[in-house]
Symmetry: C2
Subunit: 334 residues, 2 copies
Amino acid sequence: MTRNRQVRLAARPVGLPDASTWNYVDADVPEPADGQVTVKVAYVSLDPAMRGWLNDVRSYVPPVQIDAVMRAHAVGHVSASNSPDFAVGDAVSGNFGATEYAVADAKDVVRVDESIAPLPTWLGALGFPGFTAYFGLLDVGKLKDGDTVVVSGAAGAVGSLVGQIAKQHGCTVIGIAGGAEKCAWLTDELGFDVAIDYKSESVAKALRQHAPKGIDVYFDNVGGEILDAALARLRLGARVVLCGAISGYNATEPTPGPQNYLSLLINRASMAGFIVFDFAGRYGEAAAKLGEWVADGKLVAREQVATGGIDKFGDTLLMLFEGKNTGKLVLQVS
Amino acid sequence: MTRNRQVRLAARPVGLPDASTWNYVDADVPEPADGQVTVKVAYVSLDPAMRGWLNDVRSYVPPVQIDAVMRAHAVGHVSASNSPDFAVGDAVSGNFGATEYAVADAKDVVRVDESIAPLPTWLGALGFPGFTAYFGLLDVGKLKDGDTVVVSGAAGAVGSLVGQIAKQHGCTVIGIAGGAEKCAWLTDELGFDVAIDYKSESVAKALRQHAPKGIDVYFDNVGGEILDAALARLRLGARVVLCGAISGYNATEPTPGPQNYLSLLINRASMAGFIVFDFAGRYGEAAAKLGEWVADGKLVAREQVATGGIDKFGDTLLMLFEGKNTGKLVLQVS
């Protein structure tokens, strides 16, 4: 028998997830029913949004149920097919979960092309983080050429792409990240104009210095004090894109809201949230554009690959909340 | 000599303005220079926004300077003219200030028609509060027929018009106001579907009850806890219009931001601020529509006229922050 180890939700965490959050369970490898495929998962995506899926609250997706396999995007290869659309060995992505093998309806499985980019990139620049950056910046943020763009969580999966896409549009790009190493990566490798290290300098002061005319688009992945600092520097007609708020995801007490929200009023600015799923009908457009930029070397796609297999899922997830990843964090499963 | 008593800013207030905030000064009646008129002010407008103009901070208009006549919209009659566009006796409105007589360039003076509505209405439904409600709801709020609309400060100058304009578009309208009397006025006289008395009931609970499917447009005049309660009830694609935040205008310590702002993300909603001046090119459109609704009896224009003359300016302004006005608050000057 082939082992099929799975990560199941044992208990809803209060604060940071820990060992008691997860059960690691050996299940049978599922057989595909008619119209289904079985996928041998190669890499699982780790996303800050996962923390929200663990809470028993109404949100944009239902919470993961206790004892269910943890929801996760993943890439791998078809190991058994009961669908004319896929053959054994095909490289695919989908919402397969944190598991070594998954069964999925063929209609929910997306073919990926390893000749364009290796599998992990299909969980990053050519996957949901790429789509999120693309639609969040261009559609929700209504990016205009030459804008001054500020992005937080700038060394993360989405943030690093947001800044690079803005550079493709002739924008001045300021990234906010934690630590000298990440900041150097943003300016030296990704072409950001400025990187602000929130761990060693005042973000408010640095924004005053580097965005003297104010911010046109602020793409927020973190919330908290950094959101407030950005709000204080909005330009007339600015757009604030709410993509995430990782600084508060593990808070055990209510976190303060953005005190400077009235800057939206004074500056005739707007703050808008979005969920990438709403753009499903246009993923093809984003994938084509992102793929072109990656192929032309205009967009650096970087993944940080954690090893140790599915048993390391819980530990790897924590890296996101400890700021330990640069680029897209994935876990190698097989 | 005719007296020209003026309200001048004596000192910037900390917290609520008080007697030390103002100097009441007798000046000469100004003579109009070429292209100017002198206006004898009949009514001065009192607006929550005035509180912000007293702070020495960068905002959408410069702060009122110490010893300057307090900025205020007003209506009155031309008492002397040095412009071919206006004759003595013409009824006019403009940014004349808190003064008994003002001189103004003819190009900054707007003719009003007392046969359509009495002077105070030109400071309310047919003036800036009307324009603010009109553009804020229809343009910034992107009102759609049948929306569920919630407005705070609903018995105030702008809020009372917002709700009535929404009713003209077949919306379900919920007003939030302080006190049974104001609430009765909203439902019995203005046609609001529901009025929530924030002084005697939980706004959060009442919104759950009366907007079970959620809020499409929330028009905010107050900020604070009521904004948070509304954010918690947003529907997919909701629009939050930031018009004001009177609950915090006199705070002496930083006021908390909206804790529930991530509801914007989950619900793909947006929160946008605006300043009515940005719609100056379209005041004519709003005036025509508002005038038509008032003439047809579809829109109730109510003003609360404080008496006692210009010497009562300071006391009258405080009524706004004590929730003592219903409809548009004006001070009769002559």
